[in-house]
């Protein structure tokens, strides 16, 4: 019996394959999200075109505003890349918030210490500490997922809360990291030697976004060209098949979750060493979750993370200007972000449905032929 199996035609171009799928989907999602956002803005009584142009101006109108976008993008790029590699492996490593807190406390602890070392070494030590701390934070969910089959979504989210309150406790007096006599619980300020340089006068632009972009490109290359990356993609496409092909599936899961945790930690370090200079509760409220949205918007493609992280931070940065000039509340930007992600998911869902339907007609035929009885 002949059963030509056809993949859905929707946004699929022969030859471009994966790239077209993961690259085009976010663009369509962003377009639809902005379109739906425009409707909402119009409903709230403003002119959508005015609102969007105010937003654009707020985000890209001056070198300072561009710098602001890049500063906001830094944690989204770094942590988002970590979430994205998880998605590629079929794992929802959405504990970025927690990893960032863990990384921040690691980087903070080393950064606060007055070490007799040159600045570059101090910074590297602090960054190393953040990566280690983030990975340690990922240890429990990763082990539970890989070796005990516990759903990583639940564990990573729960670990987020633990991290947030753990950090809060760490910066409360009388813990040694806490700033004595401060009006708000916070850590001591990091040593000047651990502070990252500003890249632009009159802004708080630190090198975090560069690290983020490099990390995204590196991850893309790793996924495509290394054994680790190929195993990761195999795992994401077909876990059963991966085992059959001789891959140690559990170990691979563990490693992928570790990478995500380490990246999350790194993102936390750059926030502290480059921007906040102190660790305190809510120092990145919600950014970790936003990083998940960024990775989702990118469909797990690390290169897409660059685009979607920049897009999200531009929305956020431009939101204030939009609010001042047109009276549309800044939370509208969050609504638009959410709409974009939802559209991307909807497109992916629609496509999977079509695939499943195609597979099902095929299976039914086979079932009759073979699994009857």
């Amino acid at each position: 019996m002949k059963k030509p199996k056809k993949r859905s035609e929707f946004i699929y171009f022969p030859g471009l394959g994966e790239l077209a799928l993961s690259g085009l989907r976010p663009l369509i999602g962003i377009f639809l999200g902005l379109l739906a956002g425009a409707v909402l803005i119009a409903l709230s009584g403003a002119n959508p075109l005015d609102a969007y142009s105010a937003m654009l101006q707020g985000a890209l109108g001056s070198p300072q505003s561009v710098a602001n976008v890049l500063v906001r993008a830094s944690p989204l790029l770094i942590a988002g890349a970590g979430v994205a590699i998880g998605i590629k492996a079929g794992l929802w490593n959405i504990g970025a918030e927690g990893y960032m807190y863990a990384g921040a406390i690691g980087a903070g602890a080393v950064g606060i210490a007055l070490l007799p070392v040159p600045p570059i070494v101090h910074v590297l030590l602090a960054i190393l500490a953040s990566v280690v701390a983030g990975t340690i934070w990922g240890l429990i969910p990763a082990y539970l997922r890989a070796y005990r089959g516990v759903n990583e979504v639940v564990t990573t989210i729960m670990m987020n809360y633990v991290a947030i309150y753990f950090v809060s406790w760490m910066v409360h007096e009388p813990q040694s990291l806490a700033e004595p006599g401060s009006f708000f619980p916070m850590s001591k300020i990091i040593a000047p030697t651990a502070k990252l340089p500003f890249l632009m006068r009159g802004s708080s632009l630190h090198p975090g976004f560069l690290v983020g972009i490099v990390a995204c490109i590196l991850l893309f290359l790793i996924l495509r060209f290394t054994h680790f990356g190929f195993r990761t993609r195999m795992l994401g496409v077909n876990p059963d098949g991966s085992r059959y092909a001789g891959i140690n599936v559990k170990r691979q899961m563990l490693l992928v979750l570790f990478v995500g945790a380490a990246m999350g930690g790194l993102a936390g370090a750059f926030e502290i060493l480059g921007l906040k200079q102190r660790v305190f509760m809510d120092f990145v409220a919600g950014v970790g979750y936003e990083a998940v949205a960024v990775a989702l918007l990118a469909g797990g493609n690390p290169l897409g993370v660059i685009a979607s992280a920049l897009f999200f931070s531009a929305l956020k940065a431009g939101g204030a200007t939009m609010s001042i000039q047109t009276g549309v509340g800044a939370p509208m930007t969050i609504v638009i972000e959410a709409l974009c992600v939802l559209f991307v998911i909807a497109i992916g869902y629609g496509e999977r449905k079509r695939l499943e339907r195609a597979a099902k007609t095929e299976e039914e035929g086979e079932e009759v032929n073979n699994n009857d009885g």
Partner: protein, 508 residues
């Protein structure tokens, strides 16, 4: 057993077609009130499809269904239940997280919503348990119940809805012999009450024991209906498997000197549920021979293949391949080539390209990888060679495997597994779902492998291909070897009987 000649069910000219398959071809079948009707047939004969039509899960392409001599249209299971039809599927349809009682009342609108009628329902359920001696604890969650109890629960669920016509699909496959006895008792009881039972099975013994009449289905047709009293095992076996075909064996050179490649000694292994699937299984396969494994699906074939390649842990015994002890997953296709039974779920990565799929076991080895970096030029070149050599119909190696037809997908697996000339080939249901041309190509490839000197294990539920391809045939039944025959001049009905669990006095 109580029965009169009134018909509870009559199916007339039922035809059901799936893309490329004629599952039911003009089937006529009837079942009297109070009768136990056996529905006998091999895997894939169309029994389950027919009953799914009957239960409203499928709509027939043509044909009529009469319940109590009244024509009905069963467009959904809800309608079927209304008509007094109950069905116990081979794969249970229970909600694991709910209790037995909750499963029973699931879908029945309560009398005083939103309050569930738990107390009266419980009483009724217990009364049913009592009446048919099928005991379940109403307050235990399904996931904590042993499979036998789950079977009882499925039956009770149908009886709670007062099913007058009960379909049992392979009900004994999960039961212990003692539980089987209990089931038979309950079935007799049901028929005494005037209920009709359609008993689907491929096990001859039990069908002969419990039924009043037997309808045999083969390849979507009714072969015949016989009163159980007049039926004999031999005749039924012939009706089931005996195709009117001349077994055409492929010509082949004689076996060279015996050189054992695969040596299995007293191997035992469990299935996914932890139940024994292979029992003290011993087998030797020599270089240059094809050993066919015949048997009804689910008798340990999958576990056998998985044990050999190290995917499944053995609970006893040893497996050696050319003096190499199998203790972990073998992922080297130049040693063992393995065509797994489910190519889409196991053998292929549908969302990777053809080229990538061809190297999933080899990507860490040169020339596909140098200093840890994948060499896509080499991978693509390999893909071009394989596409040419194995005649894989694809625009290029850069196309996702999911775009290929079933036969071409299988060619990708075959190319990957056999191209490196392994010492042992394992082909598990390798032709399942393929069209005739693709089947032929798989057969030819395996025969070439044999002639090259590879040891080949050919596992298939299609008796015909096992007989035409194998040098030796073993028959697997419940994880044990029921018998072994030479491929040359093997007798269909002998093998057919062994497949159904009967040791034959004549071998070869």
């Amino acid at each position: 057993m109580a029965q009169d000649n009134e018909l509870a069910l009559r199916m007339e000219g039922i035809t059901k077609r799936f893309p490329g398959v004629l599952a039911n071809d003009n089937i006529n079948l009837d079942c009297r009130k109070g009768e136990v009707l056996g529905l006998l047939g091999e895997n894939g004969a169309g029994k389950t499809t027919l009953m799914n039509v009957h239960y409203g899960l499928y709509q027939p392409d043509s044909g009529k269904i009469f319940i109590n001599e009244e024509e009905v249209k069963i467009e959904s299971p809800a309608k079927a239940i209304d008509l007094g039809i109950g069905m116990v599927h081979q794969h249970f349809k229970l909600v694991d997280a709910l209790t037995a009682l909750e499963n029973v009342i699931l879908g029945i609108p309560p009398e005083h919503p939103p309050v569930l009628d738990l107390a009266p329902a419980r009483e009724r359920l217990l009364k049913l348990c009592e009446g048919y001696e099928l005991y379940v604890d109403p307050s235990v969650e399904v996931w904590r119940m042993p499979v036998g109890k789950q079977q009882w629960l499925e039956i009770l669920k149908a009886l709670y809805r007062d099913a007058r016509l009960l379909v049992l699909d392979e009900p004994s496959s999960v039961l212990t012999p003692a539980e089987g006895e209990q089931l038979f008792k309950a079935v007799r009881r049901l028929s005494e009450e005037g209920r009709s039972i359609i008993f689907i099975s491929h096990k001859l013994g039990e069908v002969l024991e419990i039924t009043d009449r037997i309808t045999v289905i083969r390849d979507g047709h009714v072969v015949g209906t016989v009163p159980t009293e007049e039926a004999t095992q031999r005749e039924l076996a012939r009706m089931m498997v005996g195709r009117p075909v001349v077994m055409e064996r492929k010509p082949r050179p004689a076996l060279p000197e015996k050189q054992p490649v695969l040596v299995m000694e007293d191997v035992s292994a469990n299935d996914d549920r932890g139940l024994p699937a292979l029992k003290d299984f011993s087998l030797i396969i020599n270089a240059g021979e094809i050993v066919g494994v015949a048997g009804v699906d689910g008798n340990g074939q999958r576990e056998l293949a998985e044990c050999i390649v190290g995917l499944r842990e053995v609970t006893g015994g040893s497996i050696r391949i050319q003096d190499h002890i199998v203790d972990r997953v073998i992922d080297d296709p130049s040693f063992v080539g393995f065509i797994p039974e489910d190519r889409q779920k196991t053998g292929l990565f549908l969302d990777l390209t053809v080229a990538e799929n061809l190297v999933i076991k080899d990507f860490t080895r040169p020339p596909y990888s140098k200093r840890g970096v994948l060499q896509y030029d080499a991978i693509r070149k390999h893909a071009r060679n394989m596409i040419r050599e194995y005649d894989i119909r694809t625009p290029s190696g850069e196309v996702l495997v999911s775009n290929l037809s079933g036969g071409n997908q299988q060619k990708v697996v075959v190319a990957r597994e056999l191209n490196a000339e392994p010492v042992l080939d394992i082909a598990s249901q390798a032709t399942r779902g393929l069209d005739l041309g693709a089947v032929e190509s798989v057969h030819d490839t395996l025969l070439e492998e044999r002639n090259r000197g590879a040891a080949v294990l050919f596992i298939s539920t299609e008796l015909q291909e096992v007989m035409s391809l194998s040098d030796r045939i073993i028959v697997l039944f419940r994880g044990e070897i029921m018998g072994e025959v030479e491929g040359e001049g093997a007798d269909v009905s002998t093998i057919g009987q062994m497949m159904l669990g009967q040791v034959s006095e004549v071998t070869g």
